[in-house]
Amino acid sequence: MNYILHIFILICIYIILSISLNLISGYAGLISVAHAAFYGIGAYVVALLALNLGNYFLLNILCAIILAGILGAIIAIPSLRIHDDYFVIATFGFQIIVFGVMNNWVSLTKGPLGIPGIPQPALFGITISSHLQFLIFTGIFAILTFLFTKRLVNSPFGRVLKAIREDEIFALALGKNVIKYKILVFIIGASIASVAGCLYAWYITFIDPTSFTVQESIFILSIVIIGGTGNLWGSVLGAVVLLTIPEILRFLGMPNAIAANVRQILYGSLLVLFMLYRPQGLLGEFAFKRKG
């Protein structure tokens, strides 16, 4: 039973991640492979604060959101000068640097050894520790994220994002402050991703840099692309599909060492096939076009 609950908890965490990346990549059209960096920042901030300063639930999560937001704004700045592939590469670079900091700043993050024994959060006097409690806890966050983002993309703000995605020059010509919107969407997306990181750190109670690599970023991006860009239900569906398919492999009796590789081969080839034949994803409304 705990195994099923575990998968549901992970699905909730990935729904939060994919919805926040969908906001950036699907609605604003800025493809980013730096999402695992923000995810990791959330996890590390919460873990380090809880172990060194005290396990305050709201305060720690707020600190994670603020730090991720600031870094999100910084990564958005290159998007004002560079576009398309160049921007993807810039986010790639940001991801490598953040991973480098997690992996190499040993005195702060304990490097590759990771941080064990992260205390679980206490809310109104109740410590959240069992799988069921965690499922409810992450589920609430996933639903809140969904409702917040839904509200956001249906607002005038969301319409401007779509306008930037479809035709940046046209949005400029209409007098929209494209720069402001791009920075804002990155701040919001990064903040939500850091919340997912907090949940992950609390749930697993152990974090190390290998959970926040470029491969993880590409995985989150493939959830968004396969589920459907510019559609929130698509992100939910993508997270469910991409997290349950590898679990089926487990029941086929595949040894763990092979299953990890097969899992990556699976989502890598899905990503390629979707880019070739259905670039808008399962439920998407917007396709990244080929250049030229």
Binding site: I31, V33, I77, P78, R81, I82, H83, D84, D85, Y86, V88, I89, A90, F92, G93, F94, I96, I97, G100, V101, N103, N104, E168, I169, L172, V214, Q215, I218, L221, S222, I225, I258, N261, V262, Q264, I265, Y267, G268, S269, L270, L271, V272, M275, L276, P279, F288, K289, R290, K291, G292
Partner: protein, 199 residues
């Protein structure tokens, strides 16, 4: 988008390699490790000399192909303006296909040489990918001398950086340089200026 699809292929191939050959380090070296040759106080191994010579030769050959032959001309035409290339009767998809072929073959040459110098692990491609991308952007996309110059600059910056900063930060240094370039000189040293805002 091609870039995303290529990241997908990267993941697939890397994992196939690790499935087939295993995750342990493999070596191509035969015989014992010998002391390098002393040239002006610097140590260099014969294989490293071979790497330098091969890369120079390939650099010249690739430049000549791009500059002089008909194939090279069509490649440059497609890069410059795909639509105009189609109008002139160039089969752009075909050109893209064999450009990818040539590029991948060159990468394979680099891979074999590197495997003789240091050993092989399935994830070794990732480092090459990162450094290749950084070198190309620093030098300027679409310029072969630019790529060579970018590679040289990157190698120098990384290895001189080790003087002051611990070598574990090499990757971070490379990408910090990349981010600085993307911010202040996004088209590198020799790159053409491309803008999204083109009317």
């Amino acid at each position: 988008m091609l870039l995303i699809a290529s990241l997908g292929i990267f993941i697939v191939i890397q994992n196939i390699i690790s499935l087939v050959f295993g995750d342990d380090t493999k070596t191509l070296r035969t015989g014992v490790v010998k002391e390098g040759i002393n040239i002006f106080g610097a140590r260099i191994t014969p294989i490293q000399i071979a790497i330098i010579l091969t890369s120079l030769t390939l650099f010249v050959i690739t430049s000549l192909i791009l500059a002089k032959t008909k194939t090279g001309k069509t490649i440059r035409a497609v890069a410059n303006d795909p639509e105009l290339a189609i109008i002139h009767g160039i089969d752009t998809n075909r050109v893209i296909l064999y450009t990818f072929g040539i590029g991948s073959a060159l990468a394979a040459v680099a891979a074999i040489l590197i495997s003789f110098d240091v050993d092989m692990v399935p994830s070794m491609g990732f480092f090459a990918l990162m450094m290749g991308v950084v070198a190309v952007i620093i030098g300027g996309v679409g310029s072969i001398p630019g790529a060579a110059f970018g590679g040289l600059l990157l190698g120098l910056a990384q290895n001189l950086g080790v003087w002051k900063i611990h070598s574990k930060w090499q990757d971070s240094i490379a990408f910090a340089i990349l981010l600085l370039f993307l911010l202040f000189k996004p088209y590198g040293f020799f790159g053409r200026k491309v803008k999204k805002v083109q009317i």
